[in-house]
């Protein structure tokens, strides 16, 4: 009866959370327990929330252009704390040339604009079946 839990987080200062909310809603409708952090979270807050909520995955959304710094900090803190059982994904306005770098950082998937919700849901279903 393990239920998939996903933290949907908005790091940094941008206030555009429509995308994050649409993804949260789609995951909810696929049977996931989604914990939404709200806006303006620091990387430290995101990791700590993920720990306390014992989530299987973190999905971050950033539209401000600061993703390389913010997402990297989150990955660094996770590594520092020895957390390797949380899958991290991201979305937002992310240039193609950054996608490879993000994956090298350990981010499992990058869901850019136009990604069908079905893909995001299926990706998380696969985590559930791990």
């Amino acid at each position: 009866m393990t239920k998939l839990r996903v933290l949907v987080a908005k790091p940094g200062l941008d206030g555009h959370d429509r995308g994050a909310k649409v993804v949260a809603r789609a995951l909810r409708d696929s049977g996931v327990e989604v914990i939404y952090t709200g806006l303006h979270q620091t990387p430290e807050q995101i990791v700590e929330a993920a720990i306390q909520e014992d989530v299987d995955a973190i999905g971050m959304s950033c539209l401000s252009g600061a993703h390389m710094t913010l997402f990297k900090t989150v990955m660094d803190i996770l590594k520092e704390k020895g957390i390797d059982d949380i899958v991290v994904t991201c979305g937002g306005i992310i240039p193609d040339e950054d996608v490879t770098k993000l994956k090298e950082m350990g981010i499992a998937a990058v869901f850019g604009p136009g990604t069908p919700l079905r893909d995001i849901v299926d990706f998380h279903r696969k985590i559930a079946g791990k």
Binding site: M1, T2, K3, R5, A24, R25, L27, R28, D29, S30, G31, V32, E33, V34, I35, Y36, T37, G38, H40, Q41, E44, Q45, E48, A49, I51, Q52, E53, D54, I83
Partner: protein
């Protein structure tokens, strides 16, 4: 168990993992509960309930900050509804509690109701035990937005706070049985809105009646977003806790609570005892079909399953 040792030392990651085991009814759940149980019973459990949108999360956030100032460690369990159709949930209470996330002396966990009616989830009481054992001193359990009969929280909490706001309900609604009977403290939040007087007048009916313990419920105005009335509310929460201790109610209610816990555990274990057995799952499905066709009633079907499981 290493996990339990770590959580008893206050390790949040271990506590979070233990909570998941309890929520998921993992095989290890009983071991975890058994190991932490002797370390529980020290925390003051405060239930916060009331209709959707009255500001329960914001109030919990304000109270948590206040009790941190008073040097208490604070645990928060925030419950939101699980979809009866998909099993999914959007747990959004953290949004209002952001700044507490990094406080060493605070632990916040969001939970879905997972098919349980009554504003709590089946695992809520067990999850509170984890926070208690890890050393949290004030534990707030915030229910899913409640209607009239979500009174489960009163069975779990020492102090029940019912949160209302101006403009909700009338005097007849205040006379109905249910949620207004369980409050030890009634908070009219958003007290900067119009209509406070009539809300207070309506609630006064609920406040008049003493609880079986002899405690007379109290009413209080707050504006949680501006921290108004929060110090008084925290004082009142402490006053109620002192009353429970001095009057011996804490002890007598503890026995009642133990009875409820045993009842709940018994029904859950009976349920699992039957459905854990692969050969009975087929029979379960057959009986479902028979009940749907009106060939058998659900009570006889339950007896039959218990018989097959060797319990009846």
């Amino acid at each position: 168990m290493e996990l339990v040792e770590r959580l008893l030392r206050g390790d949040k990651r271990a506590a979070a993992k233990a909570i998941s085991l309890l929520e998921d009814y993992d095989k290890k759940a009983a071991d975890v509960l058994g190991a932490i149980y002797p370390h529980t019973g020290k925390a003051h459990i405060i239930g916060i309930t009331g209709p959707t949108g009255t500001g329960k999360s914001t109030l919990v956030f304000a109270l948590a900050k206040e009790f941190r100032k008073r040097d208490k460690k604070v645990g928060i369990i925030a419950i939101d509804p699980t979809s009866p159709y998909t099993g999914g949930a959007l747990l959004g209470d953290r949004i209002r509690m952001g700044n507490l996330t990094l406080d060493e002396g605070v632990f916040i966990r969001s939970m879905g109701t997972r098919g349980h009616a009554g504003g709590t989830s089946r695992a809520t009481a067990d999850v509170i035990k984890v926070l208690d054992a890890m050393g949290m001193q004030k534990i707030f359990a915030e229910t899913a937005g409640a209607g009239q009969s979500e009174v489960d929280i009163a069975r779990i909490a020492h102090t029940s706070i019912v949160v209302e706001m101006p403009g909700l309900g009338d005097d007849i609604q205040a006379m109905k049985a249910g949620i207004l009977e369980i409050g030890d403290i009634f908070v009219v939040n958003k007290a900067d809105l119009d209509g406070v007087d009539s809300t207070l007048a309506n609630l006064s009916l609920a406040v008049e009646r003493e609880k079986p313990s002899g405690w007379k419920p109290k009413m209080l105005l707050t504006v949680a977003t501006e921290d108004k009335g929060i110090t008084d509310l925290a004082d009142l929460i402490e006053e109620h806790y002192d009353f429970l201790k001095e009057s011996g109610t804490l002890e007598t209610e503890g026995v009642e609570r133990a009875k409820e816990e045993l009842r709940a555990a018994l029904s859950q274990h009976l349920f699992l005892r039957v459905l854990e057995r692969p050969e009975l799952i087929g029979e379960f499905n057959n009986l479902v079909q028979m009940i749907a066709k009106k060939e058998m009633d659900p009570h006889s079907a339950a007896e039959k399953l218990l018989g097959l499981a060797g319990i009846a």
